[in-house]
Symmetry: C2
Subunit: 254 residues, 2 copies
């Protein structure tokens, strides 16, 4: 049985708490947050505290707070030589105080406050300083039903950067699609099956193989018509730049 102390009460911490509570072979001994109000709704299910001096002894301390707060918090922890991990995609393992056995337990997924998530679908990227801690983090990932991937710092940084493209930027393309349809009073819902299928296709084929459309075909007539039809300059710029990117990928003349 692994014992865990969870630190923080943001989206990742809250989703992680719910998943840990459901997991066999894991006990959440305690949940810490600076502001007790955020976690007090859970006080009947778990020991809650806002005092670092009261932290219990556990196998793993999980710091799931905002990137900027990780460093200071790890220094304030009133113990040493314990396994302390953060859950961030972009913060260095070395931001954790070196008095700890340091690690990263990065769930690569997008978490929204009120949207439930199937944690077994969340890949966990593990980074560790001491080899003997790998077993513990693998166990934790396994208890959550997650697939884990051992990565180094460069690889984690690359994943976090790539995630911005496939999640944040993709979502902004959906937003632009929404603006374009709204401007002609068309139902954005018509695009949703296409959005889903676009994501599903790369389950079995590479994004290189699944590319279609005017840029890939070098269909100058349609490209010109589309750019002319866009109202906003920034949408024209995005259309031109991503068209250029597709052409470069597929060996078309610019």
């Amino acid at each position: 049985m692994l014992s865990v102390v969870l630190i923080g009460a943001g989206n990742v911490a809250t989703h992680l708490y719910k998943a840990l509570k459901k997991a066999k072979d894991v006990t959440v001994l305690q949940w810490y947050n600076r502001n007790l109000k955020a976690i007090s709704p859970f006080k009947n299910d778990v020991n809650v505290t806002n005092n670092l001096d009261n932290l219990k002894q556990a196998d793993i301390y999980i710091i799931a707070v905002s990137d900027d707060a990780i460093k200071a918090l790890s220094t304030q922890l009133p113990f040493k030589n314990k396994l302390v991990v953060h859950t961030s995609g972009s913060v260095s393992l070395h931001d954790l105080d070196k008095k700890h056995r340091r690690g990263v337990f990065y769930p690569l997924q997008t978490f929204t406050k009120n949207a439930d998530i199937d944690f077994t679908e969340v890949p966990i990227c593990i980074e560790i300083e001491n080899k003997e801690d790998l077993k513990t983090l693998k166990e934790l990932s396994g208890a959550l039903g997650c697939r884990h991937y051992r990565v180094n710092s460069d690889q984690r940084a690359a994943l976090h950067l790539a995630a911005v493209f496939v999640n944040n930027f993709t979502n902004q393309l959906y937003r632009i699609g929404h603006e374009i349809t709204e401007s002609k009073s068309v139902d954005f819902n018509i695009l949703k099956p296409l959005i889903k299928e676009t994501a599903n296709k790369i389950e079995s084929l590479s994004p290189y193989m699944t590319q279609t459309g005017p840029a890939k075909r070098d269909d100058k007539k349609t490209i010109k018509k589309h750019i002319k039809a866009l109202d906003k300059d920034i949408h024209k710029d995005i259309y031109e730049l991503l068209t250029k990117s597709i052409k470069l990928t597929h060996g078309k003349k610019l």
Copy 2:
């Protein structure tokens, strides 16, 4: 029972043929293609021809050929006053010869050669010239199990343009994610659950609501680090432009 003659043998035509064959209340009377070889594998299931003069009498003629070929083909059809539709998102209804009762039957989805598709998940955008043909096209869409949407030319053009953003451009962002992970020898599969969840989220929330990440938070430190980490200039350009777009959408200072 609706009778259909299908014209063309590309991706859309082939997927449409398979869906029509499965549909109740529809008969595919004939399949025409200029090059008989492409459709001859189906000759035991359907009458195939490469001779326009042999076309049978049907309720609907569906022209599912490349955009550039629609106009000439519709002129070559050796009859008039029949319901003739094309399946293109970007070609005008008026490209069809005016001797026909003209319409558009546009399945808004991405079709890949060897990937099966659930046609009941394909929205059909219908445009018609004569009101009395609406019933026939609604019947056809219903027989395929599809939801249909009646649109005008401007709306269809907007959908086709928006589809480029949410499909072609999104797919290129997946490609860039693939390049970034490969450059650090990380498994691209780690990103696939995130890609799926990004698409799933907008099922119930607007893309405006689901936006997260450094651009939305105006997290200058991470943005700077990411741009520095990108190897290719075009990836830096895309990062900067989409970050700018997100900031504009969410009212951040540029």
